[in-house]
Amino acid sequence: MPRKVLEIEQKIEYLSILDENANVDKELEPDIPAEQLKSMYKYMLLGRRCDERMLKMQRQGRLGTFPQSAGHEAISIGSAINLHQDDWHVPAYRELAGMLYRGWPIENIILYWNGFEEGTAPPEHVNDLPICVPLATQLPHAVGIGMAMNYKKEKNVVMTYFGDGASSEGDCHEALNFASVFKAPVVFVCLNNQYAISVPLSRQMSCETVAQRAIAYNMPGIRVDGNDVLAVYVATKEAVERARAGYGPSLIEGLTYRLTPHTTADDPKKYRSEAETDEWAKKEPLIRFAKYLQNKGVMTAEDLEKMEAEVDNMVKTAVAKAEEMAKSEELLNPFTIIDHVYADMPQFLQEQRDELAELVKREAARKEKKNAKSETGARS
């Protein structure tokens, strides 16, 4: 009949390896082959440049509203790099760098944010789910994919992502709980950028860390410096190995900061101080990693410049391609909006398709008339 404190096994850890000045903790430093280090940097850079380029396009009216990802490349790549090609990557919407690393063509991303469903279809060889807009709803999918792996005795893992805001959703709890009960091989990565649009962490939760929520699910939980790609790498690598060995899920929280507004429609000055933004800008992940690579002799300044050029070129080519595709007959085909709703076409939808065909014919006729007119105009 006692009053006693219960022993709780899990310990929540904090991990940081490469600090904002590119000092590295030698004891904790992972042993990553040079080629892989370069690849990590390349995709972080590609994510960043893509993001910047898309912002410009959006400002020029060449792209719809989209959530930017600048500042979150370390979380995305430090984790995704641990996946095999046939593992699964289940992003939210700030994992641009990781999606590109996984094999999503840049064009797809651009097309998606430009209002084309074609951008959402994962390429054939890519075991990924597309960007997920309704917050936290992708997490149970990740768990289900993992449960199927267990059932099929596949030795794969699933890496999935959610924000600090999304952590408040019921689906987040349910997914973490299911994963732990079914020992699903899922690595949950919380991209904690301390804001859900305007709502600060203190309004989102009253506990110190998202990582400690792992205690509610008897799974390992760790908070890492989310701008330190080495720390993310180490923590997710452990989690991936654990999952692959059949020990079930883990929760990893990367503490980070948006370098940008929430989306192109957002004005963060309303809710974040300039001082705070400046402070965090210094901690961003690319610069320190580039320095690390140089210090380590993996890349020279020249290499880095070359990579910049290469990446710029990739982005440029992709933008051109995306804009070309957006004008292609295939992507402009209006009937695609109806043809993929079901595997087969139900009668009532066929009737609506016929209605649409009428409209499309009229639109075409109108265009022709207009063209004819303007031709006449030009001649006169």
Partner: protein, 325 residues
């Protein structure tokens, strides 16, 4: 094959489907050791084990959400929601994902899952245990919604639903679970989803129904025979995509229609049927189409449930009004 009731027929279909295809798994609350609160999963746990008959934690959104994930990774989950009154908890997963993945990915990813749930009133159940809100699903593009009415079609349609490459909401009128028995063939059979059946032919008016309400329609049709009225009775079986061709054909013959369903009236299936008849058979109509449906109130607790549920008497009254119009 012996005569069996609908509960048994659904159970049989699950056994058969799991025997045939090891991608089929059953999951939900109490579907395993307990064999389901209506014993629909009887024998499955013993036969197929924990791996394929999965008792889940109590969370409807995650049941559907993980079933979506399993579908994506090559399986065919049959997820049970214990009562339709609790499926709203999972509605965002159904609306935002199950119904959309195929379209969103231009066919690259599709969700061949089935959500089954005991559905409707008539068994003196507690609050939230008698709901019939198929409209929510019918109004959601990308889903198919199947509601069987008897043992034989229940079994065949469950097979079709499991084999379907798209998500099927399979609603089981629980009032019919043990209402009557029917001979089902030894050999597994399927029935095309999206096809209605004329279950009784007649010339005077068309009765359109499905699920447990079909009993009221049939009973009414029989009653009216005494008065020399020949009603044609259509069992929809699938409420989405709805087979309006069969309806239209019948109404073109009879000129009159009465729709019977236990779901609420406002934007119910009856409204859609009326709209389609209006669109396709306007000139054939000789009287307004009547709706005998659940009232636009929450289904009452069981002491007054009978005032809400359609019965043969209400159907007969509506038919006579239609005929005397």
């Amino acid at each position: 094959m012996a005569e069996i009731n609908m509960a048994k027929a659904i159970n049989l279909a699950l056994h058969e489907a799991m025997d045939r295809d090891d991608r089929v798994v059953v999951m939900g609350e109490d579907v395993g050791q307990d064999e389901g609160v209506f014993r629909i999963t009887e024998g499955l746990f013993a036969k197929f084990g924990d791996d394929r008959v999965i008792d889940t934690p109590l969370a409807e959104a995650a049941i559907i959400g993980t079933a979506i994930g399993m579908s994506i990774n090559g399986m065919k989950p049959v997820a049970e929601i214990q009562f339709t009154g609790f499926d709203y908890y999972a509605f965002h997963q159904i609306e935002s994902h199950a119904s959309r993945f195929r379209n969103r990915t231009r066919g690259r990813i599709h969700i061949p899952m089935v959500m089954r749930a005991p559905y409707g009133g008539g068994i003196r159940a507690l609050e939230h245990h008698s709901e019939s809100r198929e409209t929510y699903y019918v109004h959601t593009p990308g889903l198919k919604v199947v509601i069987p009415s008897g043992p034989r079609n229940a079994r065949a349609l469950l097979h079709s639903s499991i084999q379907d490459p798209d998500p099927v909401i399979y609603l089981e009128p629980k009032a019919c679970y043990r209402l009557f028995r029917e001979e089902v063939p030894d050999k597994m059979e399927t029935l095309p989803i999206g096809q209605a059946q004329v279950v009784k032919e007649g010339e005077d008016l068309t009765l359109i129904s499905y699920g447990a309400s079909l009993r009221a329609a049939l009973e009414a049709a029989e009653d009216m025979e005494d008065d020399g009225i020949q009603a044609e009775v259509i069992d929809l079986l699938t409420v989405s995509p709805m087979d309006h061709k069969t309806i239209i054909k019948s109404v073109m013959k009879t000129g009159r229609a009465v729709i019977v369903h236990e779901g609420q009236r406002n934007c119910g299936i009856g409204a859609e049927i009326i709209a389609r008849i209006n669109e396709h058979a306007f000139l054939y109509l000789e009287a307004p189409i009547k709706r005998v449906t659940g009232l636009d109130i929450p289904i009452p607790y069981f002491s007054k449930e009978r005032y809400y549920l359609p019965d043969a008497e209400r159907v007969v009254i509506a038919c006579k009004e239609t005929l005397n119009f």
